[in-house]
Structures are given as C-alpha cells and as structure tokens.
Amino acid sequence: MTEPKRVLLGILLATGVGWLLLVWMPLRKLGPIRPSADGAPFGRAVIGGKVYAANGCASCHTQVIRPPNLGSDIARGWGARRSLPVEYQEEHIVPLGVLRLGPDLADVGERRTEPHWYYRLLYDPRTVYPGTVMPSYRYLFSRVPLLGSPLPDALSLSGRDAPPPGFQVVPGPKARALVAYLLSLKRVPLGETGKTP
C-alpha cells in the first residue's frame, strides 16, 4: 500500500473511532432499548418541541440538571437530581443546550404549571421579568377581533401592549404547541427523591 493510501486509511480509521464510541455505541446502549412507561411523547408537545428548536430557545436555555458537585442546578431547584438518559429516550429533539442566559428548562413543567404565565412571558417577557434580555415572541400570537366576551386564552394586556379597542390577543397554534411542550417538561419530578429542592 502506498503512503497516501495509508494516510487516507488512517484518517478514516481515526474518524471512525470517534463515530463508533460517541455515536454508534451510545445509540445501542443509551437509546430506546425498551418502551418507556409513559410511551413516546405525542401530539401538541411534539410540535412544540419543534417550535422550541426552530426558534433557537436552546441558544439561551439548557435542559440538563447537573449533579450537585458540578453545579448549583439542584440547589437552585431546577430539578431534584441529575439528568439521566432514560428521561430523553423517546425524544427526537434533545436540546441539551450550550449557554445559560436563562434558567434551565429540563423540569420547568414542574415549577410553572399555569399556561397563562407562559403566554404572558412569551408575549412580553419584560412584564414578567423587568430588564430581561429574553426576546418577545409576539409573532407566535395573533390579534383577532373581539366578538362578545374575550376568548378564554386571550391575554389580559395593559399599557403599551394593550391591543386597540375591539381586538384581543390570543396565542397562535405555535405558541400553544410551545407551551404544551414546556408544560410537558417534567424530566425530574420534584420531591421524587424526597429531597427538598
């Protein structure tokens, strides 16, 4: 075998080692070897996961609870224990995240259970957290004419955000899906280990 062919083969082998160890083996060993107790996620929450990915929520939020010696995640009440593969096993979108410009969301469905809170945050984050850099996701909402009494999902807005008279602001399908996804994020149920967060 000539030298360039040896180098080429070596490159392929060296590359293959990484693929084997970090892609193929985890897929066999950590992947969905058995159906999970609750079954695969379905419906609106799955679509919401796609909305989460498409709008780059993972640019600023993580979905990983680190063990107590590697971070303050548990002490902050973001989850009761470290994350384990079993909590992600049916998901096609695994937004572990790169940066924390906001809280971890692995378990956010346990902490905040009220959809209206999420709608309000997504529509105008600064009414919930003044001074935050979180972008507003108004484009996921729509302004519709007010016919009779407001719809149950309509946002109660005041001041600058208030819609003109005769209109109301309701979450669009993507906002609903996103909130359904966030509400479904209960990877590490609180109190599961008996430890107070």
């Binding site: 030298e3 107790a37 063990p67 590697l70 384990l84 079993v86 599961e192 008996g194």
Partner: protein, 219 residues
C-alpha cells in the same frame, strides 16, 4: 515521506538551534501524562451505567485536593465520601448509579427491573444484599410477588465499600423501607469472603451466604 528526510537533514544541518525546546518536552510530557491519568482515574470502568461524577473533585473548596489527586498515580485510593450522613451519600450514589434501571422512585419497571421499595431482598439479610450489589445478580428472581429474569451488573470495581454501605443504608430506609443501617465493615467482610466468586450470583448461590436470619421470606 522518503522525500522529506533529506530536506529535514539539510535544514537541521544549517541551523543547530533547531532542537526541540526543553520547555515543550516538559509541557507535552506533563499534559499527556495528566490526560492519561485523568482518563484512567475517571473512566468508570467503561461502563454504560456509571454516571457517578462524584469522583470529579469539582469546586473551589476542594481545589487543593484536586491538585493532589492529579499528581497521585492513576487508580489511586478512591476518595472517601465527605462527612455527610450515609443517607445523603447513599441517595446520591443511588441516583447516579442505580436509578437508570430501578428508577428514581425505587419502583423498578414492571417485567424488566424489580423494585427496591418494599422488596424483601432489600429488607432482608444485609449480607445477601451486599453480595448482590458487589457481585451482580443473574437469572430468575422473585421480588414483591412478581418474577423477573434479568441481569444486574457487578459494582465491586466501581463503588467503594463505604459507598455501597451508604447506598444499602439508603435503600433500607427510603420509600417506606424500615430496616437497619449497613456498616462499611459488613460490606468489607462480604467483599473479602466473595472475592473468589467472579460471575454474577444466581439466587440459589447468594442465599447460602445468609447468616442466622437467613431465608426469612425469600423463596
């Protein structure tokens, strides 16, 4: 490559200064040794069910210990858990190593992994329990009225006696279990007794280890 060699010699011949700087050799040796030692120390035995990063000496307060650990030879004595209560240590060990199968709630997974909450094995003879954790278990076993036929891996190479004692104590006192605590010495003696037993235990074998309170309810 054969073209490269003469070129090399010419260049080296013209300038004598082109010897590898000593500083680089020292740097490379130190970092390569550190990387190898780091991996050997924290490889977790290449196991897929070892997540426990408590060996990672992370955090400022313990940074002096971490410096000591990096210079110590690889595979040195495992760090003793700090003076926390055994229940807390055991809880961390359980969540890091056991929860993947027995589930964070201790309820197991029906038909796949037996529960530890309310299990007669867990609440039975601590020596049998310690032997199972140390050596693993395979073959049919009856737990809480249901049959299981699986394979639990051995933990003796991964967890120290102190950690096994802590996790057993936690198991025997969590989720409604009310049994006695397990001491490190008990685990140590079981480990010493069973060193010759390489393969995972079968139920019939491990039952013979039971002391006076043997076979209370295990069938």
């Amino acid at each position: 490559m054969n073209r490269e060699e003469p070129q090399e010699r010419v260049v080296q011949g013209t300038t004598s200064e082109e010897r590898l700087p000593c500083l680089f050799l020292v740097f490379a040796t130190v970092i390569v040794l550190f990387a190898v030692a780091f991996f050997l120390r924290y490889s977790g035995g290449w196991r897929w069910d070892v997540y426990d990063a408590s060996g990672y000496l992370a955090g400022l307060p313990r940074s002096s210990a971490s410096v000591a650990a990096t210079t110590a030879p690889a595979g040195g004595p495992a760090q003793k858990p700090s003076a926390a209560s055994p229940i807390e240590v055991g809880q961390d060990v359980y969540q890091a190593n056991c929860a993947a199968c027995h589930q964070p709630t201790g309820q197991g997974m029906s038909g796949q992994f037996p529960p530890v909450a309310g299990s007669d094995w867990v609440n039975g003879d601590p020596r049998v329990l310690a032997a199972m954790v140390l050596g693993g278990l395979q073959g049919p076993v009856r737990v809480a009225g249901a049959e299981y036929n699986g394979m639990m891996p051995a933990w003796k190479t991964v967890l120290s006696d102190a950690k096994i004692a802590a996790v057993l104590t936690f198991l025997r006192q969590a989720w409604g279990n009310r049994s006695s605590a397990v001491e490190e010495e008990q685990v140590k003696s079981v480990r010493a007794e069973t060193t010759s037993h390489a393969a995972p235990w079968k139920v019939e074998e491990v039952e013979t280890l039971a002391g006076k309170s043997a076979g209370k309810e295990a069938k």
